[in-house]
Symmetry: C2
Subunit: 204 residues, 2 copies
């Protein structure tokens, strides 16, 4: 009896190290999930291979796919489109395999709307952990500056409430360990497996 | 700043191997949680030690503790009381340590009402047939008792929707791996860590 795969979405603020963590996730020998390759209209960089690093498309092709509803999520970033082709994701999940997406925060929000049952992980910069020290510890900042920083921090935290898990990227291998634990745990979540057991009991 | 510990509740039908799994959980060198020893009025089995496997009490002693509100949960099961002393659990959680309870299904239901934020894991037999083998395999129980336990097990499995996670006990070490992953993942759940950040921000 095969269950559907889980859609794993790794996101977080720009510069937090999502790409590095994703590569470390897939470099482990026991990586059991499929990586969903993104689509982009930006030019390939030296050494980048179409269908490996990205699917490279023209603007016309990309906009045609948007119109046809063939993108799970997309965003325009510094003049180029980036997106996730939906068919690959759906087919892979149906086959029982987990799919791993590493995407920007804007895109993650779109995926949450379409796949509320996905597993959403927010990669948190370690500096936020030291926020209190940074803001109050120095003792040299104006009340206004402290207030502004607290407001910025609050907004970041409000963003994270959309996610199921928060992983602090203080150390890449530690972050990867946590991601593996999260995926293993999610496969035991009662709302995901209960249907399987109800079937089992009916056979008895 | 220290956050409260997580109350981890391992439960499941009688005979599923809760005790064996719990011992294997605590035999690992990286076990970081505190075990809350249960109290019971049943007779010690061969090799069981008072204050290690259980606190063994008389019915009179047990009923006195019920009256005084000193039990987090208790149940009468096949003619004997089983329960969890409440003070130890509360103090340990407040100190920031996770507490591990291994209890019967009736008791888990009471704990869920008092600690909805607990982490509830249901240990599932690989099949009801397997469960019967385990219950009869102990070789120390009467036919009537075996029948009663099978009926109870069937009813208990229907209660799994109350749990956050379901772990199949097909292999003890595999079940323990999953429990460790679940606890590690829960420490990354956004609803648990967001409170930490909010508290941190309130210290203005």
């Amino acid at each position: 009896m095969k269950d559907k795969g889980i859609l794993i979405v790794l996101s977080g603020p720009s510069g937090v190290g999502k790409g590095t963590v994703r590569k470390a996730v897939f470099s482990r020998p026991d990586a059991k999930f499929e990586y969903s390759i993104s689509m982009t209209t930006r030019k390939p960089r030296e050494g980048e291979v179409d269908g490996v690093d990205y699917f490279f498309k023209t603007r016309e092709e990309f906009e045609d796919l948007i119109k046809k509803g063939k993108l799970l999520e997309y965003a325009e970033y510094v003049g180029n489109y980036y997106g996730t082709p939906v068919d690959y994701v759906k087919e892979t999940l149906e086959s029982g395999k987990d799919v791993f997406l590493e995407i920007e925060v804007q895109g993650a929000k779109q995926v949450r709307e379409k796949f509320p049952e996905g597993l959403f992980i927010f990669l948190m910069p370690p500096s936020l952990e030291e926020l209190k020290n940074r803001i109050t510890g120095r003792g040299t900042e104006s009340v206004e500056l402290i207030h502004d920083r607290m407001e910025a921090a609050r907004k970041e935290i409000e963003l994270t409430s959309m996610y199921d898990y928060i992983v602090v990227n203080d150390d890449v291998e530690r972050a990867v360990d946590k991601i593996y634990a999260i995926v293993q745990a999610e496969h035991c979540r009662s709302e995901r497996v209960i249907d399987q057991y109800i079937k089992m009991l009916e056979v008895e």
